[in-house]
């Protein structure tokens, strides 16, 4: 069982590997599943075309069949993970599928930002570490979010980059909306201070 506790900022889990480069957000969650109205339940469509045949039956060849949701909350993927469309459904689907962090040697910018906004931790490692993990499936790892450290059992401990604002929010236990709401007084005085011609209603 993974033990991601938001208070402790620690993820302890085993890894699940998808050794494929350039996994785009259309692979993670195809456009046909964007007509949702909630974030819940997207996990069942995560990697849909990898997991299911056109008739809806499960693909016996799917690598996802080997995923153990009880123990594997950290996805290790090939380079340039999350490229393509900016849909936030991609991190939502991965979270709902049961992943709490993704490790890759490179993330697409927008995916990385969407992931951080939604509490899915992107862990960027150098090629040697990525290669080690991809060569060692079901590896025990410990991710210390506060200190941006990735520990790989029997291999070593590594720093990973985390932008200052994400670190700022994570260490204070707030998210981005909380941060803006903390500035409500500044928003009010900004609104009071500017001339606002009344918006005309459409005729």
């Amino acid at each position: 069982m993974s033990t991601h506790e938001s208070n402790s900022g620690i993820i302890e889990s085993r890894t699940f590997n998808l050794p494929v480069d350039n996994i785009d957000t259309d692979q993670i969650i195809p456009a046909q599943f964007l007509t949702t109205t909630t974030r819940d339940g997207l996990g069942q469509h995560c990697f849909h075309s990898w997991r299911f045949n056109e008739d809806g039956s499960a693909k016996s060849s799917s690598p996802l069949r080997r995923h153990d949701p009880q123990t594997q909350a950290v996805l290790v993927a090939g380079s340039n993970f999350g490229c393509g469309s900016s849909r936030e459904h991609a991190p939502w689907a991965l979270l709902d599928f049961g992943f709490e962090a993704v490790i890759s040697s490179r993330f697409a910018d927008i995916f990385r930002s969407n992931a951080l906004k939604n509490g899915l931790l992107p862990v960027t490692v150098d090629d040697a570490v990525a290669d080690y993990l991809l060569d060692h499936p079901d590896q025990a790892v410990r991710i210390d979010i506060r200190n941006h450290r990735l520990g790989i059992e029997g291999y070593g401990e590594f720093d990973f980059p985390l932008d200052p604002f994400s670190a700022y929010c994570l260490t204070r236990g707030i998210d981005q909306l909380d941060f803006i709401l903390e500035n409500t007084e500044a928003i009010e005085s900004f609104e009071d201070g500017r001339e606002q011609p009344p918006r005309r209603e459409p005729g």
């Binding site: 259309d26 456009a31 964007l34 007509t35 949702t36 109205t37 909630t38 974030r39 393509g84 469309s85 900016s86 936030e88 939502w92 910018d109 927008i110 930002s113 969407n114 906004k117 939604n118 200052p164 604002f165 670190a167 700022y168 981005q176 909306l177 941060f179 803006i180 709401l181 500035n183 409500t184 500044a186 928003i187 900004f190 609104e191 011609p197 918006r199 005309r200 209603e201 459409p202 005729g203």
Partner: protein
Amino acid sequence: MPQASTLFEKIWQRHVVREESADTPAILYIDLQLLHEVTSPQAFGELDRRGLKVRRPNRCLATIDHSTPTTPPDADGGRHYFTEQAKAQVDLLHVNCARHGIELHSWDSPNRGIVHVMGPEMGATQPGMTIVCGDSHTATHGAFGALAFGIGTTEVGHVLATQCLLQSKPKTLGIRIEGELQRGVTAKDVILHVIGAIGVGGGTGSVIEYFGSTIRAMDMESRMTVCNMSIECGARAGLVAPDEITFGYLEGRPMAPSGDDWARAVADWRTLRTDPGASFDRLVEIDATKIRPSVTWGIHPGMVIAVDGRIPDRTDSATRNALEYMQLRGGATLAGEPVDVVFIGSCTNSRLSDLRAAASLLQGRKVAAGTRVLVVPGSEATRRAAEAEGLDGIFTAAGAEWREPGCSMCLGMNGDTANPGDLVVSTSNRNFKGRQGPGVRTILASPLTAAASAITGRVTDPRELLEGGA
């Protein structure tokens, strides 16, 4: 003397609620949020979860466009949604807008349309504003000198709750486009050419300002086409400084200021220009006189050639991958490839001038046998204007489908898709694998090129059909 500033810096500075720091991004005030059914449900849900209200409902404007059918309603007004979920999404937007007091332009509104067509038509889009929408083509509104960002659903929620957006200050990219366009060359060809020149990552992290004599000579609809595709080279936004053409477009629109407010607004808007001496982080120069009608040959919008040019003959993996998917050969011409479907529409090219351009070629001609042509106006207002001048009759007489407004086959969410393997000449903005349906091959082009290709059933240089020939 005040420091010389770019247009971007002037708009940015007017909207800073809290400056950027080493640890935290800037908090930027947002004047207008545009909403549609696909990227808003989870944002409203998050407000509910936290017990928050919409801070400024009168700074929101909503429409339904992405997953809506473009077929006519049945006799009792029923709409045929592609899926139950699509209908549920639209129904939920009605509920959310009613609950929060947000103006929604739904089926019963004479203004309903693609969000980036409707906003300008209603005069909601104005110079100097900050505008956001949960849609990456929000940069369209930059044509008015508004700083307009596409945002994700989480940020839609941020703006609903606080009227603010977190942003690190982007870099500026100036794109100077000079010279007169050749006959048969349109705004779409210009922006495809620009993206081809600077690459799909050429604008990453930047706000682009387009300027120069070519841009000045463009009408507002052409400027919108240019700004619309800014995201396709990775830019966060695209801008054109407002001028008399901008003011002329806006005057008298329902949501534009009027009376004394109008005069005051215009006086202010005239200051929204990049000062002499202000510099961009990067400057690109484009010679517009050399641009030919342009099309994409591959699987992203940077894979561009002139329609009478040759497909690149390279062996790198990106090219090979693209050629394999597109079933094309390096070194060959694209012109002459058989076309299965032509799509004229989308927030890039569904406005009246686009429809007029397509109709100018289709008038008195027929769509080629075996080619399906969909013409989808961008809004109800555009549809009425087109029908008032008989464009619908020209399209239907030629054998094209004249459909109801919406995003339609640009992304195929509403069921307007082509068949696997089909080659589609499309006036939309993205030619990614499967964008218009699984296995569908997309060629991005101008309305003129699309119409010419509809007539011949093959990818065609529109200059061959324009008066006087090629």
